[in-house]
Amino acid sequence: MQDSSEPIIRVEDLTVAYGDSVVLKDLNFQVESGEVFIILGGSGCGKSTLLKHMISLHCPVNGRILIDGADIVTAEGSELREILRKIGVMYQNGALFGSMNLLDNICLVLEEFTDLPRDAAETIALMKLNVVGLADSAYKMPSELSGGMKKRAAIARAMALDPKILFLDEPSAGLDPITSAQLDDLILELSRSLKITFVVVTHELPSIFTVADRVIMLDKNTKTIIATGKPDELRDKSDNPWVRQFFSRRAEADVRV
């Protein structure tokens, strides 16, 4: 973890809603630079909604989201573009552009944001693909890739501009255990070597125990954070029985469903 007094993401009094229905209420948390931060919770508790607000796809009802000191909620124009340059996002199914091969998918971002010549952009794209183990598939179309390869390619695209923060939405969903473990290794490797901060939405327990530095757990009923900490601490020592139940993956509802 990088030593830094100022957290790289700070969420203050965040309330998000769809119409009249409040999804999350008065959320406060921060993400330290270089850590792997996991957003956890049961289905429908607003994990992906929170992520979409953090990357400025949706506007919250109330609150601030500071990315590296700048509020992404109120930022507009060049200020927003500057913040977006610092973040990379991997969507649940990759969201690679189907009409372009992998190399072009990555070059597109580089050409939009920098003045690099095509040759340079292609070299960078190949390097990023090499990091995720896909340099051999640079000229393949997304439709020719498996689910795991698509996700890795999406990580390579998200890393195109050397972001400080990578947001991953359900990286392990729908992958076999081996591919999922490889993806976890990749996250750890990138976090260690490139000092990238990861914000990951997931509910894959093995993944969480492998990669997470810190976890927050959202709750559908209270619409807020019910637990924060390291995953093994939460499993063993949490006051909240539901949290312990979640981490020990028990179906029998000793508290509630």
């Binding site: 920098t114 040759d119 340079a120 390097m127 090499n130 000229y139 439709s143």
Partner: protein, 372 residues
Amino acid sequence: MTSIDYQMLDNSRLRLVISGKLDAESTSRLWSQALEKVGQVEPQTLVVDATGVDYCDGAGMALLVRLQAAQQRSAGQIQIKGLRSEFKQLLRLFDPGNVPGLEPRANSFVRLVEGVGQTAVKLLKDFKAQVSFAGELSVKLLGTVTCPGTLRSNDTFLIAEKAGADAVGITALLGFLIGLILAFQSAIAMRKFGAEIFVADLVTISLFRELGPLLTAFVLASRSGSAFAAELGTMKVNEEIDALTTMGIDPVRFLAIPRVIAAVAVMPFLTMFNNLFGLIGCGLVMISVGFAPIAVVNQIQQAVGLGDLFGGLAKTLVFGMLIAGIGCLRGLQTGTGASAVGDSATRAVVSSIIAIVFADGVFAVLYYFLGI
């Protein structure tokens, strides 16, 4: 400020001193300059002195990797000196040794020949697919005719409503405007010969025999043919077609037959609407140039017979079948990805229009020999 400096150490060794911030912005400035210099000199050994580099991101790494690749290509060597340990670690992570070279591009003539060959093969394959789909569709249509209970009648009515009833407005408007324009343009020419009354003959015959069926077919192809392709294409992308197949439901019988029957059923009616409104448009122009309405009606009645009307309507049955058949085929042929559905819809409209015009030519020859 980032700077780059070149020093020839001896005949075979070039020293490249980079200092400052090596990020995307500075790299984009230095890229061509550095590579050109190295390309010109082609040193046996390239020494990159990166002692002064205080920041290096992916773009900076790419420059180092590219220099390394250039040296490898010219069988030279590279030494990177003074790079800070954290950047060295990055360079190791990117593992430039394993990055394959950029795919060599074939020269433009080879690409042209390749392209022509590929397109020809694609066209042939497509023609084969169309013929085999036409066969499959015919067999299944026959099956539905002999056993009408297998037809999904609710779907068929719904599709007929969308493709037919909902298209009455646009068809009528198009017919009216074409009748109006055709009559107006020909009236100007006919006036020179004092033959304005024959404008009614010209418009009626062209509408009944050619324009009516063709225009209606174009409307159906662009409204419904593309919709069929997009609908079936989306189902293909969402694996719904695969689901039908694995459930033992034949996609052609389930999806294509109702569409073909609906399109065939609505085409003659739409064409009649088109013809009727075309005649109204023509009549308006004739009345406005001074003919009595009864004279116009009489002239129209004399101009065409039932043979002309039914000859035109018979064609529309074939057009309807072609449009729906091609729309469904293109939908079922849809590949993967977001652009595939759009491609299918485009191909459906283009192929339908070509097929309609081709079929119209065949009918013209056929009617000539049959004396219709």
